[in-house]
């Protein structure tokens, strides 16, 4: 890479949070967050609303200062990284002036970037060549999102940060959008995106970071996250089965028993199932399925919130 020197070499993380906290009065939006995001990956940033996702993004973009801890982007402070042209970003809260045309806007944005791209190239990459002469105020929601993306890629940034980039886009545009996103990642860029569409994270991300209640909950590949959630599900019917017979099975994350129907969430469906057979049990109507990232995400955040405990107790009571 020609710009290794500029971005601090491949060993330097694109983003690093060290013991970062952010307080608003007595409210702790981010708590002692430790996080290292390597260069050259597409990273999904997940978390329920109010989890501290937006605040963390604002801190790494230099819009907010951490109350304590250290944040580095390519080994620099967030503002230095921004000034050096390492970072391009679009935020939900970053608006566009209504009376300016898309071309004027992008001309400005390219000129503000230390490593600018030609405006026509930006229009092409963001698939908005047809919108160049439109005023920003006259765009639909989905078109606005595409223009915002164009703003984020107006220069040759090394890290692209996108806050819920596909909100308001129709399916087709979402597809086109993610293709241009993938193209960015293939050029060796680091792409960090927050999204509500978990299937997008599932398809596009090399790495998933889950934040809940201001803390880091999970950080790994999509498969890691699924495994962490106990992402496989074993369902079967076995007349006369009791809960006690199932309690000793390995790798079980949660257990649900209604009459003779059993549902198990496990982090290793093979081992759980073999153990079941080893006990001499012969279940019927067996289904073993992988859960999507969405269920994995819900499972780990709920567990973190303590909801899972409540749910299993209810099952106990019902029995």
């Amino acid at each position: 890479m020609s710009d290794e020197r500029l971005v601090g070499g491949p060993g330097v993380p694109a983003v690093s949070f060290e013991q970062v906290s952010k307080n608003y009065g007595s409210v702790q939006a981010v708590r002692e967050l430790n996080l290292r995001l390597p260069q050259g990956r597409a990273i999904a940033f997940l978390g329920p609303n109010g989890a501290g996702k937006s605040t963390s993004m604002e801190i790494l973009l230099g819009l907010k200062h951490a109350s304590s801890g250290r944040v580095e982007v390519f080994g620099k402070t967030p503002r230095q990284a921004m000034t050096a042209g390492h970072v391009g970003a679009m935020l939900q809260s970053g608006g566009l002036p209504a009376d300016v045309t898309v071309r004027e806007l992008l001309t400005l944005m390219t000129k503000l970037h230390p490593k600018p791209l030609p405006v026509d190239e930006v229009l092409l990459r963001a698939n908005i060549a047809d919108l160049a002469d439109r005023r920003a105020g006259k765009l639909s929601g989905g078109q606005t999102q595409r223009v915002r993306f164009a703003v984020a890629i107006a220069g040759d940034s090394d890290l692209i940060v996108l806050d819920e980039p596909t909100t308001g886009m129709d399916v087709e545009n979402r597809q086109i959008f993610w293709n241009s996103m993938k193209a960015q990642a293939e050029r060796g860029k680091t792409v960090l995106f927050a999204t509500h569409y978990l299937e997008e994270a599932d398809q596009i991300a090399d790495q998933v970071v889950v934040i809940n209640k201001g803390r880091l909950l999970a950080n790994g590949s999509v498969a890691d996250i699924k495994a962490m959630a106990g992402f496989q599900r074993i369902a079967f019917r076995l007349p006369g089965i009791t809960r006690e017979q199932l309690l000793d099975l390995p790798h079980v994350v949660s257990l649900d028993l209604v009459h003779d129907r059993v549902q198990i969430q496990t982090s290793d469906s093979d081992k759980t199932f073999y153990a079941l057979l080893d006990q001499g049990l012969r279940p019927q109507e067996i289904e073993i399925s992988a859960l999507g990232l969405e269920q994995a995400f819900v499972a780990i955040t709920e567990r973190d919130n303590g909801d899972a405990v409540v749910a299993s107790m209810e099952t106990e009571d019902a029995r």
Binding site: K64, A89, M90, L91, G94, D99, V100, E104, L108, L112
Partner: protein, 243 residues
């Protein structure tokens, strides 16, 4: 620096194609000037030998300038805070002062047509001045606009969104009324007016065109407003830094 210039250029283009801004900075003051001038033909300002037409010339030129610098900046900044444009600009390599600096530069350029057009119209109404007087009157009003630009920035950053429009409007109208932009003030109105930048921009410009000595007291008051509003604007800007 190129970023600031590019942004400033875009700011100017936006202001010039905004019909509302152009109406209040050029058309409206010129209309009022023509109406007022025709009603005072041949008269002088009471207690002086200054032709009333000359008085209205600088009064309405400064009136347009106030609209361009105070109202335009206050409402724009407030709007752009709300839209998130200022945030988006902070996600670029633009230096943190870049946005405000580009607003100030753009204001200094946008007020020029407001002054020049009124002056040109003035020549058709029998105002006869020497070149040096035209130039000094222009400079007084032009530099005086900084007080209103700073005030506009302070209001745009400092006040809650829904308060910006009414507050700006009140300052614009009341300030111009007491400043003698609509008619020559006297008595209590003048006493209050003498504390205001609207009054002194017009008064110093009037002194310049009537070859009266410039009152340094007025220059000091005007300077104090520029500095005071600039400090206030800087404080408000800092306060909103993490919005």
């Amino acid at each position: 620096m190129t970023g600031v210039i590019t942004l400033g250029r875009l700011e100017i283009r936006r202001a010039l194609r905004n019909r509302r801004v152009m109406f209040f900075t050029i058309l409206y003051p010129v209309m009022l000037f023509l109406l007022s001038a025709s009603s005072v033909k041949g008269q002088t300002v009471p207690g002086t030998d200054i032709p009333y037409v000359d008085y209205f010339l600088v009064a309405y030129a400064s009136f347009g300038v106030i609209a361009a610098s105070l109202n335009n900046n206050a409402m724009r900044i407030s709007q752009e805070r709300k839209e998130g444009w200022i945030r988006q600009l902070r996600l670029t390599a633009l230096p943190s002062y870049g946005y405000v600096v580009s607003k100030i530069c753009a204001s200094l350029l946008v007020v020029i047509p407001a002054i020049v057009v009124t002056f040109l119209v003035g020549t058709t109404q029998g105002v006869k001045l020497e070149a040096a007087q035209w130039v000094s009157a222009f400079l007084v009003i032009w530099l005086g606009s900084l007080a209103f630009t700073a005030m506009g920035i302070a209001i745009g950053y400092g006040l809650p969104q829904d308060a910006v429009q009414p507050v700006t409007l009140i300052i614009y109208v009341a300030g111009s009324f007491l400043g003698g932009q609509f008619f020559a003030v006297s008595g209590t109105l003048q006493t209050i007016g003498k504390c205001l930048p609207t009054y002194w921009v017009r008064e110093i410009a009037t002194e310049v065109i009537s070859k009266n000595p410039v009152s340094w007291y007025g220059v000091a008051i005007l300077g104090a407003w520029v500095v005071g509003c600039a400090i206030l604007a800087a404080v408000m800007y800092q306060k909103r830094a993490e919005d």
